[in-house]
């Protein structure tokens, strides 16, 4: 990964520079000896290793998920411990290179100055490290926000599409006379969908159950509208409910399956939704619907151009390369869409 390479590059360059600058000034004062070179390189290596250890602790214990005050307290405590270790290391290095002057180097004032100087170095390192992290994070959250805004816009324009809402209302109006009970439940389902689509964009990911319930409601309504022309089947593993998924993603896929697939077929068709857990604990969501993808992308119907790239970008922003999205024709009568949502872990929960 690029970030790892950048990290090591900066570590090595930074601490080598530390060693060389120190050596330069020492050489001005006292001339240069191989012992000094060895000692400063050893010290620089200690800085490098100790900061790397620090970074390891930060990552393993998920310091970035701490609230700011807790993070600062931990960071300062970490810096003090590091400075102590560093001061001890300096004495050991001097001892190893036989330059330890017990009368001078072990005086409390000298030790205090050494402590303070190493504290400054560590503080500088931490500042850069945390700053980089926050800027990078801010940047990607901006990009995330931009994509989400775009999705919202497209959504308003054509996804939870008004065509669906008004058609649903129209069917309900007819249903009021024909089957008042069904009409009532249709109204509830429609309100659920509308409510969900209003609140969904506040979260990066939501419970699988919330999304799938919306899909149930949505397909129930479309079944009222299309009647025998729409056959729906579900196969959902119980464990899928433990996952969190990006909101409106499955819903959008299902809507497109209806809009571009079943509603264009005189005889109608089927939708099959399968959610299963893979061997490596990834969640696989698969939608198989009647219809065919149009082969010529230039002749795409209005609106259908946004959905797929948006979905892919969203998955990438949330999960990096660990998620995947595929859509393709399945034989001559079906289209299959498959999403892989990676095994969940703590770092995903920092949505806001």
């Amino acid at each position: 990964m690029d970030k790892i390479r950048l990290y090591w590059l900066l570590q090595i360059l930074g601490w080598s520079a530390f060693a060389f600058v120190n050596l330069f000034f020492v050489s001005l004062a006292r001339g240069i000896t191989s012992i000094q070179i060895g000692a400063y390189l050893a010290l620089a290596s200690f800085y490098l290793l100790s900061t790397h250890l620090f970074r390891y602790i930060i990552k393993v214990h998920g310091w970035f998920t701490f609230p700011l005050s807790k993070l600062i307290a931990h960071a300062i405590a970490g810096l003090i411990i590091l400075s102590f270790l560093n001061t001890v290391a300096q004495i050991l290095i001097n001892w190893a290179f036989n330059t330890l002057n017990i009368n001078e180097d072990l005086q409390p004032l000298v030790i205090l100055v050494n402590l303070f100087i190493s504290f400054l170095y560590y503080a500088l390192w931490s500042m850069m490290y945390f700053l980089y992290y926050f800027l990078d994070n801010y940047n990607s959250s901006l990009r995330y926000q931009a994509t989400i805004n775009e999705i919202k816009l497209n959504h308003l324009r054509n996804q939870l599409n008004p065509h669906f809402i008004f058609n649903a209302l129209n069917s309900v109006r007819a249903l009021v006379d024909e089957d008042p009970k069904k009409a009532k439940s249709a109204i509830t389902q429609l309100s659920n969908i509308l409510r969900y689509s209003l609140v969904m964009d506040k979260h990066k990911t939501i419970d699988f159950g919330d999304e799938i319930n919306t899909v149930f409601d949505y397909l129930n309504l479309e079944t009222i509208r299309f009647e025998e022309r729409l056959q729906v089947s579900y196969e959902i593993e119980e464990d899928a409910y433990d996952y969190k998924i990006p909101p409106m993603m499955l819903q959008t896929i299902v809507e497109n399956a209806i809009k571009h697939g079943i509603s264009n077929l005189i005889k109608g068709g089927t939708i099959e939704i399968t959610c299963s857990i893979g061997l490596t604990k990834d969640l696989y969501i698969r939608v198989k619907n009647s219809g065919q993808l149009k082969s010529s992308p230039s002749k795409r119907r209005e609106g259908s151009g946004h959905g797929i790239p948006n979905t892919i970008q969203r998955l990438k922003l949330i999960y990096g390369n660990r998620a995947s999205f595929k859509i393709s024709n399945y034989g001559n009568e079906f289209v299959v869409t498959e999403i892989k949502i990676p095994k969940q872990n703590i770092t995903l929960e920092l949505s806001e």
Partner: protein, 244 residues
Amino acid sequence: MRALVVDDERLARKELINLLANHENVEIVGEAINVDDAKEKINNLNPDVVFLDIQMPEKTGFDLLEELDHVPNVIFTTAYDEYAIKAFQVNALDYLLKPIEPERLMEALNRLQKKLADEPKEEGSNPLTPSNKLTLNDQVFVKDGDRCWFVKLINVKLFESDGNYIKVYFENFKPMIHKSLNALDERLDQKSFFRASRKHIINLSWVDSIEPWFNGGLVVTLKGGERIEVSRRQAARFKDMMSL
């Protein structure tokens, strides 16, 4: 008036028929569930008005109108279709948004009633003669990109073939329809329209002046300035017709 309801959804048809039940002067003569079904029923039943959904499987309501020779009066129904609505508004076509407001339906019916009263249809009464030619009072449906029109043939001055399409000249527009000029020529009433050449059919009531041309041909100038060459072979026939 005799109405045909075209919509692929049963509940949508039911809803509209329920609404129409309040109007005594409307008789539902049939329901159609897709474009091919509708085409057949329009030809057999010859309704006064077609309530036409736009979004239907495989073919849209617009496709239906483009396929019809005889275009009946149409009231479009749609749930939501930005493009279609824009097309309607530009050209003042009548449309109803689903779910349909009873008042809007009443308005649309009144407007249609008025239109039907203004132009008593003679041809319409014998639907069983399929050889029925299109006369000046008939209308065609023309769609060009975002826009669409019902054009009365009396307003069309010229048909010009252009590859597999025909350019229809009326007012300041010349949208294209996907038809062959020969097929159209067979459908048009010979008293009103004249096949001037391989490329042109002109509306005789739009002829402004006629000049002789090379080789015994003619050039006809239409009101509005288009100059159309009449081939030598057709020129003699043309003179016959124009001299009565």
